[in-house]
């Protein structure tokens, strides 16, 4: 038994995927999103678009993987994987940012202290 995705679903999904790609592109253009963090979003958009346009796609891929009952579960599994990878990526980015943030704060505090002592010494030598 083969299911072909209903045409209406394919059309709506294609529009959705194109809209998502458009939004990501616009965010990059306006510099709200850095290229390096946008790649995974563009990739996700492209994958969604391919699955929407290639109407036998889900069946074919489910067939390769031996999924018999419900072909769209392949799609959900892939989606979940993407989301997890993205979340992990953000945890890494946040960890790095907080390290850098702490180092910056420390240097600022030490520089301010040095500055204070220098100006205190300067004021004394002027007397």
């Amino acid at each position: 038994m083969t299911h072909t995705t209903p045409l209406s679903v394919s059309i709506i999904a294609s529009i959705g995927a194109l809209a998502m790609l458009g939004v990501v592109f616009e965010l990059i253009r306006r510099r709200h999103l850095r290229e390096r963090y946008s790649l995974i979003w563009l990739l996700t958009g492209v994958v969604l678009l391919v699955l929407a346009v290639w109407r036998q796609g889900l069946n074919t891929i489910a067939g390769w993987l031996g999924v018999k009952g419900y072909p769209p579960s392949v799609f959900f599994a892939a989606l979940l994987f993407f989301v997890l990878v993205m979340l992990l990526h953000y945890s890494i980015v946040i960890s790095r940012l907080s390290d850098q943030n702490a180092t910056l704060a420390q240097r600022l505090a030490l520089l301010e202290e040095e500055q204070r002592h220098r100006s205190a010494r300067g004021a004394e030598s002027e007397k």
Partner: protein, 248 residues
């Protein structure tokens, strides 16, 4: 015991690192007591983003003050002190909390092994000597658990791994300036020291009840504290010793 009775202390460039988060009530006394013990100690107060007058009080006492622009937590605050120590070429550094629980009169106990060259890090323990220590059940459990774990890793008996009353020599300063743990750093710092083949020693000290303010570790956070530290200790075992060591 006064500073004069400690052989070798007078020749060393020595720094007291005083981390303080909203300690306007106790900080002045801590500074005065350190100076009373030994006027030769330079003092750096690291104000960890306090909202009270901690920095002003420290400045009025004429000590070095590193004011962090926002709260970074005790680990990063203490490391700021070690970076100051490294940049200004100090021979030894002691850590004394700004809340008054560490008694500067006990400094000889943690200084002596460093001055004698017996250890790179000396930890003042509440539990080695006499005197009771009151704490909640969860905290006591955590303290026991850390002591057992770290003792096993270090193959050396330890009783008070969470004590922040410490002294280090140049090697300790260099290590901690380069890398110091976050959040609840005291326990991990000991394991770091072991991994980098520095020597540590625990000595008995008496500590006081906090004179003002309250402990940053509430009952609710204790559980997170235990889990986080145990995880960090476990990961630390699989980490290479990556801070290069110069010979002392």
């Amino acid at each position: 015991m006064t500073a004069a009775a400690l052989p070798g202390l007078a020749e060393r460039r020595r720094l007291a690192i005083v981390p303080a988060f909203n300690e306007e009530g106790s900080l002045a006394a801590v500074i005065d007591e350190i100076r009373a013990f030994d006027p030769g100690f330079k003092i750096v107060v690291v104000d960890d983003g306090s909202s009270d007058r901690t920095s002003e009080i420290a400045l009025a006492r004429g000590v070095h003050v590193a004011t962090l622009p926002f709260n970074l937590g005790i680990g990063a605050a203490v490391q700021t002190g070690y970076r100051f120590a490294l940049a200004n070429d100090f021979d030894l550094a002691v850590q004394i909390d700004g809340d008054g629980q560490h008694d500067p009169a006990e400094l000889p106990a943690i200084l002596a092994p460093v001055l004698a060259g017996e250890a790179d890090l000396v930890i003042g323990s509440r539990f080695l000597g006499e005197g009771a220590f009151h704490s909640s059940f969860v905290r006591r459990l955590g303290i026991r658990l850390f002591a057992l774990t770290v003792s096993a890793i270090a193959r050396q008996r330890l009783t008070d791994t969470t004590s922040g009353f410490r002294a280090v020599n140049r090697r300790g300063i260099a290590l901690f300036a380069a890398d110091y743990p976050h959040d609840y750093p005291e326990v991990e710092a000991i394991v770091m020291v072991v991994k980098h083949r520095l020597r540590f020693k625990e000595v008995p000290v008496r500590m006081r009840e906090r004179s003002a303010g309250r402990s940053s570790i509430t009952a609710l956070r204790s559980f997170y504290y235990i889990v986080k530290v145990l995880l960090a200790l476990f990961v630390e075992l699989f980490r290479p010793a990556d801070v290069p060591q110069e010979d002392a």
